[in-house]
């Protein structure tokens, strides 16, 4: 759905009071994954409603592959992260229980939903393979479904010698060549800019301004890039994959001074109308087989599993310098980011 809203998703951090306070104990300990009874019940339920913010291609692939693998009909509702989240919250408040599984690009949604009592805990079979404990909730209310890779996209027909770092984008040789998203509208841009301010201060952005960088709302400016309007974009590896699928000239540089992680989450809703099918779907999507579908869409999996195949023409994402932000610190810096950014680039 609306990228502008998907990208806005991060702004949630402004609202959410992030608490890591432990909730009540969740009853008896259960082995990870689903039991035979749950699998049977899932087949009887026959379908699952999957609210997702994945790209159209990835969401459609997921629906097809998961339906085949699980024998359950996967109904996809694909919207931007914030829209998906807003909708789930609205439905929860109104007592409508339409969705089973929710999958967005924004960790903060899951903090908020857990706090609101909208989620139920479920531990996937793959839990031991998660690369870091940061990638899931300690009480297993949610787990990271993917890690977006904030990076530099460029048009290889027009840029023969692409920049290797974020830092060098302020070099005058990139004047009139750059395009970015707005921190007020794009979650990806917000995270990228959070890190760049941390690394290089606001002078860096004054340099970008001197280079007459073009600023759109969303950072996904594939057309601006591919048409040659501006050949270098500060966005995300995720836009390169579908662009190449349409044979557009778009490539990614994973900057040496850091690739910016955007951790997305997945959870089973507490009042899921098909609770068993929901668990079966989440277990599948967080397995190596399910995660491969995400990885093919241009993201990093939170699983450290050698079975996952990354495209060989790019460095293995686990080899890049990954910058994972502390959501509390992003929330703290948000007012400053919004204000200073708007001063420099409008809005």
């Amino acid at each position: 759905m609306l990228r502008l809203i998907r990208q806005r998703a991060w702004l949630l951090v402004a609202l959410t009071v992030i608490t890591s306070a432990a909730g009540p104990a969740t009853g008896q300990q259960k082995a990870p994954g689903t039991t035979a009874e749950e699998k049977d019940a899932a087949r009887r339920e026959g379908q699952v409603v999957y609210y997702t913010a994945r790209t159209t291609t990835t969401a459609n692939t997921i629906a097809k592959k998961a339906s085949e693998a699980l024998g359950i009909k996967v109904n996809v509702v694909r919207l931007a992260s914030t829209l998906i989240y807003n909708r789930a919250v609205q439905e929860f408040d109104a007592g409508i229980n339409a969705a089973d599984v929710i999958d967005t690009s924004v960790t903060e949604h899951f903090f908020a939903m857990k706090k609101k009592g909208m989620l139920q805990p479920f531990t996937p079979s793959s839990i031991a393979k998660f690369a870091k404990p940061d990638y899931y909730d300690a009480e297993h209310y949610w787990h990271a479904s993917q890690i977006g890779l904030g990076a530099i996209n460029y048009n290889p027909q027009l840029v023969k010698d692409p920049p290797k770092t974020w830092k060098e984008l302020t070099d005058p040789k990139y004047k009139d060549k750059l395009v970015q998203g707005h921190v007020k509208a794009s979650g990806t841009s917000l995270l990228i800019d959070y890190w760049l301010v941390k690394l290089y201060g606001w002078d860096y952005f004054k340099g970008l301004q001197k280079n007459n960088i073009m600023t759109h709302q969303s950072c996904d400016q594939t057309n601006i890039l591919a048409s040659g309007e501006r050949p270098i974009l500060m966005c995300d590896h995720q836009i390169t994959v579908p662009a190449q699928g349409r044979s557009l000239p778009v490539e990614t540089v994973f900057p040496e001074d850091g690739v910016i992680a955007q951790v997305g989450g997945m959870a089973v809703l507490k009042k899921a109308p098909h609770p068993n099918a929901a668990k079966v779907l989440v277990d599948y999507l967080l397995s190596a087989e399910g995660q491969q579908l995400y990885v093919d869409g241009g993201v990093l999996s939170a699983l450290n599993d050698p079975a996952l195949k990354y495209p060989s023409k790019y460095p293995h994402p686990s080899k890049v310098k990954l910058l994972v932000a502390d959501p509390n610190d992003v929330a703290r810096m948000l007012p400053e980011l919004r204000e200073k950014f708007s001063e420099l680039f409008g809005g």
Binding site: V77, T82, T215
Partner: protein, 556 residues
Amino acid sequence: MRSKLLWGAVTVTLAVLVLLPLGWLVVKSVQTEAGLSLANYAAIGNQKSFRAATLNSLVFGLAASLIGLVLGAPMAWVVSRTNMPLRGLVRAGVLGAFVTPGFVLAVAWILLAGPNAGLLNRLWIAVTGASHGVLDVYTMTGLVLVSVASTFPLAFILVYNTLEMMSSDVEEAARVLGAGTARVTWTVTLPLALPAIVASVILMFLETIILYGVPAMIGVPARIYVLTTQLFSLFEWPPRVGLAAALSLPLLLVTAVLLVIQRRLLARRSFATNRGKGGRRRPIDLGPFRWLALAFCGVVLLFTLVLPYAVIVWASVSKVWVRALSSASFTLDHYRFVLFEFTSGSRSIWNSLLTGVIAATLGTLIAVIVAYLAERRIVRHAAFLGFLAMAPLVIPGMVFAVGLFAAYSQRPLVLYGTLWILMLAYLTKFLPFAYMSCHAAIQSVYPELEHAANVLGASRARALRDITAPMIKAGLLGGWVLIFIPAVKELSSSILLFTAPTTVIATAIIDLYQLPSWEGVAALSTILLILNGVVIAAGNRALGGNLLGRPGGGAA
């Protein structure tokens, strides 16, 4: 008794439609965490970005309305008064530009005049060998000119209608007294048309400052933020409805004042219009200058209609637009994509049709009842109903949407997230157009005919159904189209009120634009343009070619 009941029902309906959202707007603007206060207003006043946006909106609105006048008014004059060839075609072209949504024009001009990759710039570079293009759409000039393309028809329509309805007596008198063509035009026609000219500038100004699509697509990359783009940013998560309401109400006030001025000016026109056309007049012979006039109209329409439509249709059938120049290709893939694969594509068409049809039907029904009650003075205070029906005219779409959001996003009536809230927005926003159309139609029916039926034993309702209704069919149809057409292209209120399952064509186009799929945008826009064209052609045919050419239509 029955009439009173009807009056009551209609009054309540109108009050709920119009006053409830506005009331909520006021409430939200003064509601803060610390209780009732003006803190929201203070916050708006203190923030530099809002002050800058206000200034930008003023410059943007003034520039666009003055340029719109310079383009639209002379065209109206040559089409109405002179022997310029192809006058009918020019008029049809202007009406075509009139029903083209601003955001479609914005996309078209980004494709045409992007500073490096725009089609016209690439042609320029190829032809002249220059190192870079000459046009840059991402500037204030670009913003203004693209907006003018969607608003100048207002100047044309208002001035054209005034000229057409102007009695020829006064002009003839001047001529008999020996004044030449230029002198008559300058000293008689122009002063008589002056109220319409000023009114059209006001309307264009208002239409411009409430545009959202063009400023979002062209203004933002140009770092030019206006009131609507700032207003929209207040709805980014978390929505700050209080601030949005506090920003909206002054805008509403400005609009109301300007529209009151505009109505006063148009009311003065009545002495000149003198009950419709005052006989046929001889067209003014422009001599060789008629070709110059035609060239002027042609150039205006080339840039506002022909080029944008051409580039949109071309992009919609190109495999990959960014390579359309270097390797020609033809495909219907993008139509397949927006109709069958893109989740919100076909859904948006269905939603737009559904909300458009229901809003137009209910709106026309309400309009005709109110117009009937008001015109026949069946109940006391009927004039108040007329006022309520016209009131939405002063409410900018986005402002009204803020009110609707405040009114219907909380219990007991949660309409946010349903198609009803969009339908209500369209119905209310465009009710005045249907009302004007129905009112004019009912005015033209002699009440004696109904009285005759009553005398012969028919009830009032039966007289209305069997006598009046058939006679005002054209007015009803006109009213219906005047709600339907703007409803299916309405973006500025839809963008605040839609959710994924309730997306409409306008929001789906913005969605495709962000996806980003320029070809998909072009395909869905083409579908919208075809849809508009079909409805207008059908309506025009049913009305004998008079659709949108009537005085009431001028405000649409």
